[in-house]
Symmetry: C2
Subunit: 424 residues, 2 copies
């Protein structure tokens, strides 16, 4: 799995090319699935950096630790002792995950893996997102009259100590300080990895919520824009849980078995979020469990015996595809001709959803990260390796049009390699 910028060098390199950098990116998301760890090779400089994924490892979270994180996020159950020790425990967990990654890499290297031969085992740096346990940016803190803030824990000291390397971390706070939401931070890395010299691209992420980044060909970072398209997997997953006791519709198999419920479809297409002008963002408040459960009650027995559970999943999946395409037709296509739509996130693994989306968008090519030789699983861990690189080079990491910050800033903090220079 290798990925390079397809764009030719847009600016002359002022200095000779530096040596390749080997770095690890670490991501632990709010879904609490596990620790994602990506070893990457970085070449080039500044905006012309290229990033090759060498190996990806995902370590599941133990129940005990997942429980502690859930407690630490909870107003009623959290306390200072828990947060203090969990901060150190997560640092240890990350170090163990990187250890496990490097053990696999070493074995692959010994087995002759070509792409790993150049890697000595020494990391140039690590970049770690940490675990968000609270997030109260400007847009949400105002109503609570609180100082805008965000809290990612998982102290980087153990990583720096065990691997004798620099560790970049805490990427969201500086954007929050500058009046931004501290999120999303992926647009900058999407620009670095996905911008094209020849194609106008949309990067459609389908997580719980759907969001799109618009990447015009030969885009400067200032040309980027992004907004939430509406529901991602949120409604489908909630209905799967209620109707099938499963957390998601594996590869869209249930959706394919059902038929469209016309009145539900009509009702969903009236959702006011669709007509709202960007910039806009949405969440569980509008498309979450409460909203979905009300629909299930309305269209299933005992209220209504005309439709099957599969019809519900089919219609919600169709609507999710529609809401994405509809947002393009309303807000994107009038401004720019789009050649390619690259789908990422969990929704990229739902082939029914992708087929419905393709049907909605006959003139665009629907691709996944894998079609471009990129890993959808590793995307976020790779993104943080790149954000670490930007911090290391004193380059801005946020996109003010995406986060709402007043300005472009160097993000993140550094825990330096703790082993002293010998002379003193």
């Amino acid at each position: 799995m290798s990925q390079s910028l397809s764009q030719p060098l847009s600016q002359p390199l002022s200095q000779s090319l530096p040596k390749s950098l080997f770095a690890v990116g670490i991501m632990t998301g709010t879904s609490l699935d596990g620790v994602d760890v990506a070893l990457v090779k970085l070449e080039g400089k500044g905006a012309d950096i290229t990033c090759q994924l060498l190996h990806f490892y995902s370590q599941p979270l133990e129940d005990d630790l997942r429980h502690k994180i859930t407690q630490a996020c909870d107003l009623g159950q959290s306390n200072v002792a828990l947060i203090c020790t969990l901060n150190a425990e997560l640092g240890l967990l990350y170090a163990d995950a990187v250890d496990a990654l490097l053990v696999e890499v070493e074995a692959l290297k010994r087995a002759g893996a070509q792409s790993l031969q150049e890697f000595s085992g020494k990391l140039d740096f690590i970049a770690s997102h940490g675990q968000t346990i609270y997030h109260l940016p400007r847009s949400q803190s105002a109503t609570h009259q609180l100082t805008p803030s965000t809290l990612q824990i998982g102290d980087p000291s153990m990583l720096a100590y065990r691997f004798a390397t620099d560790v970049y971390f805490n990427f969201r706070m500086m954007d929050v300080i500058a009046g931004g939401d501290g999120a999303p931070l992926v647009p900058m890395t999407e620009w670095l990895l996905y911008r094209s010299a020849t194609a106008n691209r949309l990067l459609q992420n389908i997580g719980g919520i759907g969001n799109v980044t618009i990447l015009p060909k030969e885009a400067d970072i200032e040309d980027l824009w992004a907004f939430d398209t509406g529901p991602g997997n949120m409604m489908i997953n909630e209905a799967m849980q209620q109707l099938y006791q499963k957390s998601y519709d594996h590869n869209g198999e249930i959706a394919r078995q059902g038929e469209l419920i016309e009145p539900l479809w009509q009702q969903l297409c009236q959702h006011p979020y669709l007509a709202e002008n960007p910039p806009k963002s949405t969440g569980r408040e509008q498309f979450g469990a409460r909203f979905t459960q009300a629909l299930l009650q309305q269209y299933l027995p005992p209220q209504n015996c005309a439709y099957s559970p599969a019809d519900i999943i089919h219609t919600l999946t169709r609507f999710t595809a529609f809401s994405i395409a509809d947002s393009y037709r309303r807000f994107v296509f009038p401004a720019i001709d789009i050649d390619e739509v690259i789908v990422g996130g969990g929704g990229a693994y739902n082939s029914a959803l992708l087929r419905y989306l393709q049907a909605e968008l006959p003139d665009q090519q629907i691709l996944t990260g894998e079609d471009l030789g990129l890993s959808s699983d590793a995307k976020e861990a790779i993104a943080f390796a790149l954000l670490g690189y930007l911090t290391r080079e004193k380059l801005a990491g946020n996109v003010p049009r995406a986060t709402g910050a007043r300005e472009s800033l160097v993000l993140g903090q550094l825990c330096p390699n703790p082993f002293p220079k010998r002379e003193k």
Copy 2:
């Protein structure tokens, strides 16, 4: 107020001397008095760094914020939202304190203050201790079966953003990761500032607890040792609170009015801590409120009508001086001839205590930081400016013999100046 190392350059300078650095050190201690901010000028290199205090400013904590910090430290009252917002609020407080310092500096400079003329107003870096809200190093975590950890909050992003400079912070965690207590961190800076080519020195700090650092003349950092001598102001202050509703004995005025209570004196001199061999440390458990209140009950009415409150304060002050001198006689003087004792901390402002200590130590010269041209108030803020310098230079900041860490390490983390390099 200017301070320089009295020792001649012990190692040849390998490179030409770098330019002077202007830095701010920030300290907020567990006493929650306020934010101490010191502007210093650093010259020289590595161990031969010299540090001149240019200006010191102390900003009292508002009651509201002090209350929030107290809540954040409390197991029953703390929660993740409080810790998340307080982390940002303290960052803002530190930035406001540095602002206030720089306004005073600018006024003094305009008024012609000679030592400030070279300072342009631009800081080379800031170093901030942060507010400790929990501390559970190896020595204390073992009994709780918890991962060793320590938590200082007060996010550095606002400082870095407002002053467009690098900010060093979170100095204790790396030592804890390496098996140390993360404290005390002052010995390294004491060595940098106070070691002498001609005198064997003791640095006696008299805070709540008394602790001493032994600095042999021409000491290498490995020659340092340190231990807690016993009570500092803790017993005196507790008795002052109980008997006079005052937080301390101003300049020892009450102590001077009383007389020695012989049986109390005899009883205190039997305290088992005195005979314990170093390394040793003590705290509220041994000399705190409970211990002191029991003594008051024993020697004052209605139990006992022979003595006055002033006699109690006198005897406790005499015992505090005795416990310090006794620890030297038992553990220090047999190993090294001491020329000077330099007293710092709040106890340095109790002239009765200093007089009793001088009487106990007729062969040593008792000095305060002020006698050496150093500020006792600013000592800790200066210490963290120096620790920030060490991190910046990738030099070790901890003294393993003092903290119990496995090795000497670069301490601290860096929030870089967030304003990007222009080229990209």
